[in-house]
Structure formats: structure tokens, C-alpha cells
Amino acid sequence: MKKGFILVETIVVITFLATSLLIIYSSFNGILVNEKRRMYYDDPIYLYRTYYILDLLQSNNVFNYIEDTLADNDADNYPLLLEVSCNNTAVFEPGSDAQILCESIVNTKYLEVEHIYFTYYDLGPLTACKNSTGETCDRNESLRGLSTNAVNYLNTLTGTGDGYRIIIEFLNQKGLAKKYFYASLDVPLGGNGS
């Protein structure tokens, strides 16, 4: 007569326990992820940095640039996300005071700006990766250049309507520790960010 557990019984018990724990883990993991998002997404300091950068860009030619470029999307092209830099001659006149200021606050470690993106306010097509004709696009092509952290941030943004969004990725680096922060503001058609 056998006594104690046999291997199969042990495995069944362990599997049951593991499944239960995985369910608990997935429940609490959501809470942990939300907490981290609260820390790194739309922090007031980074929101105001974004505001001032947007203000600088809007006082130059960025609005016409994004309006022209993003409006020209077609099936072969996916300009649903546009990266803007201080070196962009369509936005800044080369050598102008505004460009120098932009470079000194954006292109240095000072404001910790890593990337500046503009996109449509309605992020549905971008996150679903659809072009203007509704065709599903290649996700890698549409979100090309975006880090996983940035894609995760994009997925938290909601809302539909006209206009654009500015999304800025900040890199806070202390020693070897890197932390990415994200902030975004809406850019109404022809208006200021809010």
C-alpha cells in the first residue's frame, strides 16, 4: 500500500497553487503598473517643460509644418507620428535666436528632452496602426523609432477629436540609472496647447 503523495499528485497540487498565484499576481501587477505610470507619466514638472517647448515651437513654424506633413498621409506613407528637432529647417530658421534657444534648452541635458513627437490628437489610428484610408499598416513602420516605454505611454492616452498632440520623451539619468518620463499636451487647430 502506498503512503504519501506520488509525483502526479504533487504536480497537480503545485499546478493548482501556481495557477492561483498567477491569477493573484496578474491582479496586483495591474496596480503596480498603474503606480509606476503615475510616477513617470505627465508629472507636473515635465508637463510645464512640455508647455514651454510647445510655446517655443509654436512661436516658430511648427504648426504649419505638422499641418502640412501630417495632412499629406496616404496608403504608402504613415506620417501619423512626426518627430521634430531644433535642427529642422522647416520649423526654425537656421542660426536664428529661436533655434539657438531651442538647442540650448532642448538639445542639451538641461531639460532632459530625448524626443519630441507630434501626432493627431486622436491616437486611435496610430495605436491601431491604421493609415488614413483605414488599412492596417505595418506596426513596426508606423511606430518606427519608438521605444517600448513610449508605446506603452501612447497606449494610455485617450480622447478623440480634431487637432494634434505634442508628446515628449524625457530621459532622467543619474549615474547608470535611467528613467524615462513622458508628458503630452493637446495642440488645438490653430490654437495654443492646453
Binding site: M1, K2, K3, G4, F5, I6, L7, T10, I11, I14, L17, A18, L21, L22, I24, Y25, F28, I31, L32, E35, M39, D43, P44, I45, Y48, R49, Y51, Y52, D55, L56, D97, A98, I100, L101, S104, I105, Y110, L111, K174, G175, L176, A177
Partner: protein
């Protein structure tokens, strides 16, 4: 021969599976404990921090900053006292003490221990760069949480940023000569950078 209990192989497999599960459980418990401790302390402070930044930045944006003067520290615990003058000639005073931040009559108390600035020589740092006809200025107020349970996890530092046309402001360090009698802020040369360097060295060590 009758088999009794588990064999060695069964035992090893069982212990291995249990160990894997325990590693997951342990990680969850550690994370949960940290987050729970942090959230109970920091929630109110984070809300206050947002309100402070929003209130001051709103004035910077709507009223347009004209100049910044240092004012006298009245209380023993006061660390910083700054007087902002706006272009409509209105003024607002920012006072930071060990446990409180006061701006224009509104007062916020920090719940998370003390609001000690790390080093008295760096009560705040002030960066000013004039580029052509533009300026940018940043006031940073660092919060020292060393030795506190929240040391590495909380962002309670205050940052006030402003940029615009040099012709619109009268800030210390500008090349304008018509600013009148403006009290010079102490330590105005790239303190943020030197402070950050110091902080990075500390982190690396």
C-alpha cells in the same frame, strides 16, 4: 517491494516547483510592501507638489514674470524666500521652510518627514542663460529624503521653469542696464549643473 512516500526525484521536482512559485510570491510581496509604504506617505505630498507647481507656473504664464528678488527669512525654519514681480506690477512671495511651502498666502505642509534641502549652500539653484534675445531660467528646490524610507522612489523636488524674451524681463544676470535696484540672487551661476554633478557623484559612489 512496496513504495513508500516520495522518491528522491519526486522530492527534488516538488522542491524545484515550490521554489519557483515562492520566488514569484516573494517578489510580489516585496513590491507590494514598498508600494504600500510609499503610497501611504506620498499621496498627499504629491498632490501638494502638483498644486504648488501649478499655482506658481500659472502666475508665471498668465501674469508674465518680470523679476525675482530675495526677501528676508523671518522664521528660524525658513530656507528660501523669493519675491516674484510680474509685468502687471503685482507681486507674489514664495517661502519654503523645513516643513512648509507658502505662496501668496496659500500654505502647504509636507507630510513626508521634513523638507530639508540637502545642503544649506544649495538652498535652491538658479540657472540663467541668455541666448540672443531669449532667456531661460529655472529654480530648483531639492528635497532631501536621505535616510527616509522613500529615499529613492519619490519625486518631490520642485522645479519652476520660465523662458521668454530678454526684453520682457529684468532678471539677475541679464545684460540689461535699466533693471534698477534688483537684489542679486546668491549663487546664480549654473548651480543646477554643479548640484547635479554632485548628486551624480554621490549616486555613483
Amino acid at each position: 517491494m512496496k513504495s513508500k512516500g516520495m522518491t528522491m526525484v519526486e522530492l527534488i521536482v516538488s522542491v524545484g516547483l515550490i521554489s519557483i512559485v515562492m520566488v514569484f510570491v516573494f517578489n510580489i510581496l516585496v513590491d507590494m510592501r514598498q508600494e504600500e509604504t510609499n503610497s501611504s506617505f506620498k499621496s498627499q505630498d504629491l498632490i501638494n507638489r502638483s498644486l504648488i507647481i501649478r499655482t506658481i507656473q500659472k502666475d508665471f504664464i498668465n501674469k508674465k514674470l518680470y523679476t525675482i528678488n530675495e526677501c528676508l527669512l523671518e522664521q528660524e525654519d525658513d530656507i528660501v524666500c523669493l519675491n516674484f514681480v510680474f509685468r502687471d506690477n503685482s507681486t507674489a512671495t514664495l517661502k519654503i521652510a523645513k516643513n512648509t511651502v507658502e505662496y501668496n498666502g496659500e500654505k502647504w505642509t509636507l507630510q513626508t518627514g521634513s523638507y530639508d534641502i540637502k545642503n544649506e549652500d544649495y538652498k535652491y539653484c538658479y540657472n540663467y542663460v541668455e541666448k540672443g534675445k531669449f532667456y531661460y531660467v529655472t529654480l530648483m528646490f531639492y528635497v532631501n529624503l536621505r535616510g527616509h524610507v522613500l529615499e529613492s522612489n519619490v519625486l518631490l523636488d520642485l522645479e519652476l521653469f520660465n523662458t521668454g524674451l530678454v526684453s520682457d524681463v529684468c532678471l539677475p544676470g541679464t545684460s540689461r542696464t535699466d533693471c534698477g535696484n534688483i537684489l542679486k540672487l546668491n549663487n546664480t551661476t549654473n548651480l543646477c549643473d554643479s548640484y547635479r554633478s554632485q548628486d551624480e557623484e554621490t549616486t555613483n559612489n
